[in-house]
Symmetry: C2
Subunit: 556 residues, 2 copies
């Protein structure tokens, strides 16, 4: 079997101007970045503002195995299948972070015959957006420490700085550090830490901003720390929102590439799906809708995290109108939810499969509670038996649930025609009655209870003493009307990664809040959330190299 990079490198890409032409972009509405990538000016949005939006399709999944269930691959495959049907489809995806690329084998650009290209570029520095975000984040850190060093006019309490530095790498040694050592000329010593760039609030802001000025406004609202008496200190107080906006202005233009079947794909932004909302940029999604008849996008992790946030946060803020949701399920993940250990997932096990379907069932109910029509996509793996696939199909049809088998890794768009047909049928019926699950004016506890009960199936919610105190502070600061962004394990519907399937009668514990006032949401932490991954003993980087022709080796 060929690897993803082998398949990608055999594709004869079309020059990016041809892809721009498919989208009807005018010459001054895009800029080339190499021969096969382009940055799209936001000007086309103005030109097309009267045009009716294309139909927005959201791809999500059940709770995944650690290897992921091929959500990006299905997203790309569906986009290609729609294209094959003659629909003008545009795919919108997240940009990969270099941390995981160097750390663990596995791309973020789809796979097989359903991937975006040039995958080598996309998985390395791409057009530099994430580097721009790293730079803006760390420039803000430098401005904070310099402000204190130069007299601390704002009265920042060095022990209450909440703004961390970032690198776009897996680097556990930077999780907890002390900076400012070396005496009076080197700064003021204090505890600090680094996150991976995709966990930066600037990444979340970047992905929720409507335009450059909206981004500037959001940047100005970032709370970097607190004074001795607990008053928030913002970027506006430091006066550097203009400089940060300047550092990010080119990055804010979405990136155009193509799939291996030449379907246009816009790849832009990539926030974490736990402490942030886990979707590509709002601008990219809106642009895909404006330029296509169908816009296919995805949200991180399972429907309990990514889709919930796409619908309650991104769609609400961006006034998006999703038409159909695709819920990706795999036989192996369902068997895992039915109790099969990782090592045995390749063996047929109808009983475990049936037991694991409870997980799918819960996600179906969640999507229904948002008022959205949906299709279950079975992303087939070579180890899945016909009996297993049929058992899942039967389960769906007994419940009146639309289901489609997809083989997009192996067959590209052709492997996703059944799914595409069902998506189009549902989208044309236009039976969506989408609305977010809660009102932003609800109390913080009510918003969290709504998500915990309706999406996770929890019995109730518990708050630590710290979390209770923080709710009071958030209310006192006037921030309680923001949506809630839940940071929870992706492996379980509960806050315990070991509780697979469909846990019941559990209590969700909120341990801490992290207000992301610039992004515009309140992060509620449940359990441990790692915002800086580490490298394994044998990181993927050990096999990477460049051949004599300058081509990547060992990237995937």
């Amino acid at each position: 079997m060929q690897t993803d990079i082998e398949i990608a490198s055999q594709v004869k890409m079309k020059p990016i101007e041809e892809i721009a032409k498919i989208l009807g972009l005018k010459e001054d509405e895009w800029e080339p970045y190499g021969k096969y990538k382009a940055k799209l000016s936001l000007a086309s949005m103005d030109r097309l503002k009267e045009r009716e939006d294309g139909k927005l399709i959201l791809v999500t999944s059940i709770n995944p195995t650690p290897a992921g269930e091929g959500k990006s691959t299905v997203t790309v495959g569906l986009g290609q299948a729609l294209h094959k049907m003659g629909k003008k489809s545009v795919i919108a995806l997240r940009e990969p972070s270099l941390g995981p690329t160097m750390g663990i084998k596995g791309g973020a650009t789809g796979g097989g015959y359903s991937q975006v290209v040039p995958m080598e570029d996309i998985n390395l520095h791409f057009t530099g957006d994430i580097h721009a975000i790293t730079t803006a984040n760390n420039a803000l850190s430098a401005f904070i420490d310099n402000h204190i060093f130069q007299g601390n006019e704002c009265g920042i309490d060095a022990r209450r700085i909440v703004w961390k530095r970032v690198v776009d790498l897996n680097d556990r040694a930077l999780r907890q550090v002390i900076v400012g050592l070396g005496g009076v000329k080197q700064g003021v010593p204090r505890e600090d830490g680094f996150n991976i760039t995709v966990a930066s609030e600037i990444m979340a802001i970047f992905c929720l901003a409507k335009d450059l000025q909206d981004m500037r406004t959001r940047l100005s609202k970032i709370v970097v720390g607190y004074t001795g008496d607990g008053s928030p200190v913002t970027v506006a107080d430091l006066g550097v929102e203009g400089a940060l906006t300047l550092l990010l202005k080119d990055a804010l233009m979405p990136n155009l590439v193509q799939t291996v079947e030449h379907t246009p794909a816009i790849i832009h932004g990539g926030p974490f799906a736990n402490i942030a909302h886990g979707c590509n940029s709002l601008i990219a999604t809106k642009m895909a809708s404006k330029l296509g008849d169908y816009a296919v996008t995805e949200a991180g992790f399972g429907a309990d995290l990514g889709a919930e946030k796409f619908l309650n946060i991104k769609a609400r803020m961006g006034e998006l109108d999703p038409k159909v949701v695709v819920i990706v399920a795999t036989i192996r993940a369902l068997k895992m939810h039915g109790g099969v250990p990782q090592t045995d997932l390749k063996e047929e096990n109808i009983q475990a499969l049936h037991e694991g379907m409870a997980n799918l069932e819960k996600h179906i109910e969640t999507i229904q509670s948002f008022g959205l029509p949906f299709v279950v996509a079975i992303n087939r793996f070579v180890t899945d038996t016909d009996q297993e696939v049929n058992a899942l199909k039967t389960w769906c049809s007994e419940r009146g649930v639309k289901v489609a088998l997809t083989e997009v890794w192996e067959h590209g768009g052709a492997g996703g025609m059944e799914l595409a047909n069902q998506v189009v049928a549902l989208a044309e019926q236009d039976s969506s009655s989408f609305q977010p699950l809660y009102h932003v004016k609800d109390t913080i506890q009510d918003k969290i209870a709504c998500i915990a009960k309706k999406v996770y199936g929890a019995k109730n919610v518990n708050y630590t003493a710290l979390a209770k105190q923080q709710i009071e502070e958030i209310e006192a600061n006037g921030w309680s009307d923001l949506p809630v962004c839940m940071a929870k394990t992706q492996y379980s519907l509960s806050d315990d990664p070991k509780k697979l399937g469909r846990p019941v009668d559990f209590t969700l514990t909120v341990s801490e809040f992290r207000p992301s006032i610039g992004a515009g949401f309140l992060v509620a932490l449940t359990g441990d959330v790692l915002t800086m991954p580490g490298l394994s003993k044998q990181p993927a980087a050990l096999k990477m190299d460049v051949d004599d022709h300058g081509r990547a080796i060992g990237l995937f």
Copy 2:
């Protein structure tokens, strides 16, 4: 008077394909990065390997004032003037670092009517080269700490790690840090520090590599630290030279832009001129020579630092054959060397000017000792009086020194015609008998004595106990046959920044060595060398912003 950014923004740039055409590049030998930037494939060098190299002109200066003497401006102006004369000229410059851009007003892209454009892009993220270097540098740090965390097979002594992390920002709080805190799951605590990216050895390697494979070889030789018994541990020992090369492969393609008069300019790499050699990449210089009849390049700081290293390190390693050197002098810097305080430099002072000429005299002798013909370029400022300019001209002609007045800031290439004519005359005479000042096989002490005496005018050289011990270690490790890279203040010919003019009878003190085995030189530190700048109380960033059309405000 208009600002640099106002002048730059009024220029009607030519599409970059037209500039590529001027250079005779074939379509597959360059890639667009936006409409006015391109990355150049190294393939053209192969195609043109039989073509005779263009004439290489090096621009250097006397010891500068803190504001700089307009070396980049003269370099650009000279390139434009040669172009105006009908010569096919190509300019090769360094890429600016974001740290100074955000920190202090003042660009690195020339000025007035002798600057490179698009200056906004070039001064911000440009094509991402420096970000790629930051990422490779910090990936190596993550690999080192992970290696120790995962069992430390190489036996690295955590107290003897010499590889530091970097950010491309002015951030004094990162000069000295402790990383790896937080307990057994977060790493191994140790002292660390951050440099600004341009001080990374990877930047020096990037700028001295002949091609991708040579860069890979140099990366593998980087010494990251030592074992408990003092044996060096290299990147090759960690097995990550392939991954680092992969991260840098696209960045290694030089960047093509244009000047305000549409002269082609290649901007690539930008190492410090104290702990590194301070010149744009060797590949860029060679490419400029291959593609042009005249290649005009510069070296950082004054001739004692930049030109010395260009000639003893870069030209030696790259087998370059410089034809003519331009020594930039300004009336105000000469007056400073003659004892006038900064505040009074705008007032006529013929006597101080005469006294300050001793500084110029020393640099002239230095260039002569390399066997190179030269022209003194008087970079005229509006405050210079005719009497002052004439005094300097007279001083030169009395000594048979060629001199030209340049007004390239105000008049572009037209303001540099006198200089261009003299440069062409000298280049066509081809009277260069260039050779480096020392042999690499000389002892370390002999090499340093040679530079100290012939270039700085020192009486003798003193070594601290640490430096003496390090010489023994360097010899024991078999590294003594490398050229020496002196880290010294740029303000004085001596190691004391306050000794202006032409100090005599002074002793140079070498305090420490930092072997840069990947770059291929031994850094000898004299005095304090700051490898991470700090921000001022009112950094330039406070005035930066973006206007409603997405254009930069307050960049310069």
